[in-house]
Symmetry: C2
Subunit: 254 residues, 2 copies
């Protein structure tokens, strides 16, 4: 038995999120179906670095599963892609040690969030950005965002309906860059709570638009109360960008 890790990309638009649920099209089910087909119908469970919600995308999702097949690592992507719908693509596969776990051994995760800043929406980016037709101050958001760096109880930035008890996470870095008519938020941390990136971005946009003060984030953090923070930004702009482990498991392209 050998353990395989996959670098998975998907466009989240037509999925009811990552995790399997009845009567819904999910990323996990599509991958499990493809993996099972390669194993002549044998049911094989795949494990991921974490779930993503409806309409959320992945540029660098990592999943793993165990196999008895002796397929060379570089043949897995082609074999699986032939069985997968075209909104999921496997970019690389790598054999990892039998104690590797895509979720438990992740030491760092990066999410990106794309905001489209213009009057009218863009038909070609409507599913991969959050369209903001109003003015926002990048410098206000950048200044505010610094407050979030470090280790904090992020309860105020976690969706209320979660079963996670420990809401302390470390945010290593957060940056906001302008790329033509887009803003790209990059967040790197040791882990993220449910909806955490989207609530952070939603709150920062309110600060950028002048609806909240630049220094409000410390009191929002201190409140440990979801209702004090801003709106959850839509899933369309969010990308699970990269998951890091103690040792890199894919090529430099990842």
């Amino acid at each position: 038995m050998k353990r395989v890790a996959l670098w998975v990309t998907y466009e989240g638009t037509s999925f009811s999120g990552y995790q399997v649920q009845p009567n819904s099209r999910t990323v996990q089910e599509e991958i499990e179906t493809a993996v099972s087909r390669i194993h002549k119908g044998e049911q094989i469970r795949i494990h991921s670095s974490g779930r993503t919600d409806t309409s959320v995308h992945a540029r660098g999702q990592v999943v793993h599963f165990d196999t008895t097949l002796a397929i060379p690592a570089d043949r897995w992507p082609k074999a699986l892609n032939a069985c997968l719908p075209d909104d999921i693509r496997i970019i690389e596969a790598s054999y990892v040690s039998s104690d590797f776990h895509s979720r438990y051994l992740a030491v760092k995760k990066e999410y990106r969030y794309r905001v489209l800043l213009r009057q009218e929406g863009d038909v070609f980016r409507r599913n991969v950005t959050h369209h903001v037709p109003y003015q926002v101050s990048i410098s206000r958001m950048q200044k505010a965002a610094e407050t979030l760096i470090g280790t904090h109880d992020f309860s105020s930035f976690c969706a209320a309906n979660t079963s996670v008890v420990d809401k302390v996470r470390t945010l290593f870095a957060i940056s906001i860059e302008q790329d033509h008519d887009e803003l790209v938020f990059k967040l790197v941390g040791n882990g993220f709570l449910y909806n955490m990136v989207r609530i952070i971005v939603g709150t920062l946009l309110e600060i950028g638009a002048g609806k909240r003060e630049v220094n409000e984030l410390s009191s929002i953090l201190a409140a440990k109360d979801r209702t004090i923070a801003g709106k959850t930004a839509p899933g369309t702009g969010l990308f699970l960008w990269k998951v890091s482990y103690a040792e890199p498991i894919f090529s430099e392209l990842y």
Copy 2:
């Protein structure tokens, strides 16, 4: 009565093309429905610079219609976009003279065609590129493409099921540029036959892949026979980019 011209963009993926047809979602019907709503239900016919097929996109489609409403030009996009689905966006509106016609007065059209050159497809570009996983020589295609510039009978590059009699068109320019992992074909002409761009790109890709000779295009043109040219490239990569008139009707952004 005043005539309004609109700069229209759409992502063609979820449309059965531009032109109205029964029991199908079309760009024309969506725009006519939106225009009629603004006119309190009055049926208003819109005219376009030309049709596009299923899955073909428009960055710069031009349509026009007549109105009795006294709406300032810069208010039309907002008003119409509020009634339109988000895969169609009106970018600009302009009042034009009553003898303007988006189709008959067009003097120049530009189409672009995007080819994605990589081993595995890209989930984020699957609807807006044609994925080519094999090697192609750009210089071979560039050299071959030069043969097409000028005024020719393009019968060999016209879908068989067309009612157009005169198949002579002038191609002003054709270029092929590499942009990271994409090839962008740009074609500018005084008009294009049905499927003409897609058949030209399909044939050039066969030349690029070495399946045909670089100098084959003159004999293909001379044959005036659709069956002699290459395959029709898929609609996903094709964009109606720009339509030009004797006098510009939109801002410099167009």
